[in-house]
C-alpha cells in the first residue's frame, strides 16, 4: 500500500459544547478510493468537515501529502488541491448551473478557460447539466442538484476529493455513470474519500474501507475483505444483505 495522501491521527472535534469525534485515526492512500461507512450520526460528515477545516479539530493531527493542515484555513486546504462535496450539496441556488461551475473552476476567469474535454466528459456523464446550463441551480431537481455538486468537484483536476453521500437521490443509471467516473478519476491520479450509505455502490468502487461508529473509526481495511465477510458487515453496518440487492 502506497504512502497515505491524507492521514488523521487521534482527531477530536467539538461542536459547541458537544464532543463529536473521539480520536479518529484514518489513512487515505494516494490514488485510490477509500469508503467511509457508518450509521447515522456516526460522525462521517463531521470527519469530512474537520478535514476541510470547516470544524476545527480540538486535538490530533491531520496531514495532507506530508504537510500538517490541522490548523489551516479552509481556503488554503482547498487550494492545496482538495475538493469537497458536502452532504447538503452546497449549491448556490441563485446562480445558474454555469456560474456554479465557473466558481468551482478556480483557475478560470471565464468558462473559455475551462478544459472543454473535461466539460464534455461531465456532460456525458450528467446530461442534465448541459440541458439546464443556464438555469438557476435552485430550480434543479434533487438528483440534478446532486449531479451539479459532484460536477463542481471534478471540473478541474484535484488531488483529493471528499465526497459526502453522492448517490442519494440519484437514479440507478446515473449512479452507474458516477461509478464509471470515479474509476476514471482514480486512473487519473485522484484520491477519493467517499462517504456512503449505499453499500452496493460502495462495494463496486472502494479499494479501502473505514467504518465509523460513535465518533471513532472502528474498522479499516481492504474493501474486498469486508465485501466477503457478511458477518463483519452485519456487525459493523447492521446489514442483512438479504434485504438489499
Amino acid at each position: 500500500m502506497s504512502e497515505p495522501l491524507l492521514k488523521l491521527e487521534g482527531v477530536h472535534t467539538h461542536i459547541g459544547a458537544y464532543h463529536i469525534l473521539h480520536g479518529v485515526d484514518l489513512a487515505v492512500p494516494a490514488n485510490e478510493l477509500t469508503m467511509l461507512l457508518g450509521r447515522n450520526g456516526a460522525g462521517k460528515t463531521t470527519t469530512l468537515r474537520t478535514i476541510m477545516g470547516l470544524w476545527k479539530a480540538s486535538q490530533g493531527r491531520i496531514t495532507l501529502a506530508g504537510q500538517d493542515i490541522t490548523a489551516r484555513a479552509t481556503p488554503d486546504i482547498a487550494q492545496s488541491g482538495v475538493a469537497y462535496v458536502p452532504e447538503n450539496m452546497g449549491i448556490f441556488s441563485d446562480l445558474s448551473v454555469k456560474e456554479n461551475m465557473l466558481l468551482a473552476a478556480r483557475g478560470a476567469r471565464t468558462l473559455d478557460d475551462v478544459d472543454t474535454k473535461r466539460l464534455e466528459w461531465i456532460f456525458d456523464m450528467f446530461p442534465a447539466m448541459k440541458k439546464f446550463w443556464l438555469h438557476p441551480a435552485g430550480k434543479l431537481s434533487g438528483g440534478q442538484k446532486q449531479m451539479l455538486a459532484v460536477s463542481r468537484a471534478i471540473v478541474e483536476p484535484r488531488q483529493l476529493l471528499l465526497i459526502d453521500e453522492p448517490s442519494k437521490g440519484l437514479a440507478p443509471a446515473i449512479i452507474q455513470n458516477m461509478i464509471a467516473a470515479f474509476k476514471a478519476l482514480k486512473a487519473a491520479q485522484t484520491t477519493i474519500l467517499l462517504v456512503e450509505q449505499n453499500f452496493n455502490f460502495a462495494r463496486q468502487l472502494g479499494d479501502h474501507v473505514a467504518v465509523m461508529d460513535d465518533g471513532r473509526v472502528v474498522h479499516s481495511g481492504a474493501m474486498a475483505e469486508l465485501a466477503e465477510d457478511t458477518a463483519l458487515q452485519a456487525r459493523l453496518l447492521g446489514l442483512s444483505l438479504g434485504a438489499h440487492q
Binding site: A83, P86, G90, F92, D94, L103
Partner: protein, 328 residues
Amino acid sequence: MSFLKDFDWRPVALVPLLAALALPAVGSPSTWLTLTVAGLAMGLIVFIIASGLTLVFGLMDVLNFGHGVFIALGAFVAVSVFGGLNAYAIADSFWLNLVALVPAMLAAMAVAGALGLVFERVIVRPVYGQHLKQILITMGGMIIGEELIKVIWGPGQLALPLPETLRGSFLIGDASIEKYRLLAVAVGLTVFAAMVWTLNRTKVGLLIRAGVQDREMVESLGYRIHRLFVGVFVAGSALAGLGGVMWGLYQQTVLPQMGAQVNVLIFIVIIIGGLGSTLGALVGALLVGLMANYTGFLAPKVALFSNIALMVAILLWRPQGVYPVANR
C-alpha cells in the same frame, strides 16, 4: 449577440418613457429640457452615492444603515482638501480647478475606504448574515461616526463652494444646464462603467453572491471570501466617499447629518434596482431623479411622496425590483 437578445430592456425603457410622458404634462419644451437634464444629472449623483450601497447591501447582503456616514465623511474631507487647495479651486481655469477637485475626490475615497476597513472589522464582521443586528450595529456605527465628524469639524454646516469654472450654466435657448451637473454625469457614468466591468467581467460579483448564500461552500472551493468581503466593503465605502464629494459640491454645503438625510433615498434606489444590480441601481436613480423634478414642478406636494410611490409601483410590477439579482 445572445446577450442583446436575452437582455431585458423594459426597465431601461422606463426612463425615456417617463421623460416622454412628462413632456406634455410640463408643456414648455425648454422647461422640460431643463428639468430632464437636471433630473438625469441628479439621478447620476444619487447613483454615485447609492453605488457603494448596491455592493454592500445588494450583493453582500449587509443591511448597512451606516452607509451615510461615509458619504458625510467624504464631503467633509473634501471641505478640508478644498481649504488647503483653495487657490486652485478659485482659479479661473478648468484644469487648475481639477487640481483641487481630483485630490479632494481621491482623499475622500481614501479616507472613507479606510474608515470602511475599520467599520468592517469592528462593526460588521460579527454580524454577517444577521440582518437585525446589522441594522442596529451599523446604525450605532453611523451615530458614532457622525458624532466624531462633529468633534473634528464642528457641529454646524460648512460651505463647500464649487470650483470657479464649474459654476453657472450652459444656456440652450431658454433651457439652462448647470455645468456642475455635466461633471456629475461624467463621473456617474464612469463609476457605472467601472462597476459593470468589475462585476460582470470578473468573478467578483459571482463570488459575492455565492458567498452570501453559503460562505462555507465558497471557502471550500478555495476562495478567501473574507478578504473579498473586506475588499468589497472598502470599495463600497470609498464609493460613498466619492458620492459625498459629489453630493456636497452639489449642495455646496456639508452637514454632519447629510448622510442620514439621504439614507432612505438610497435605500429606495437600490430596492427599485433589485438589490445588487448595478444597472438596476442606475435605472432606479434616474427614475427617482426625474420623478422628483417632474413632480416637483407639476405638483410639489406630491413630490414629497413621489419616491415612495415610485417604489411601491415598481414593486407591484416586479416584486423584487427591476433587475432582481438574488432570490432574497
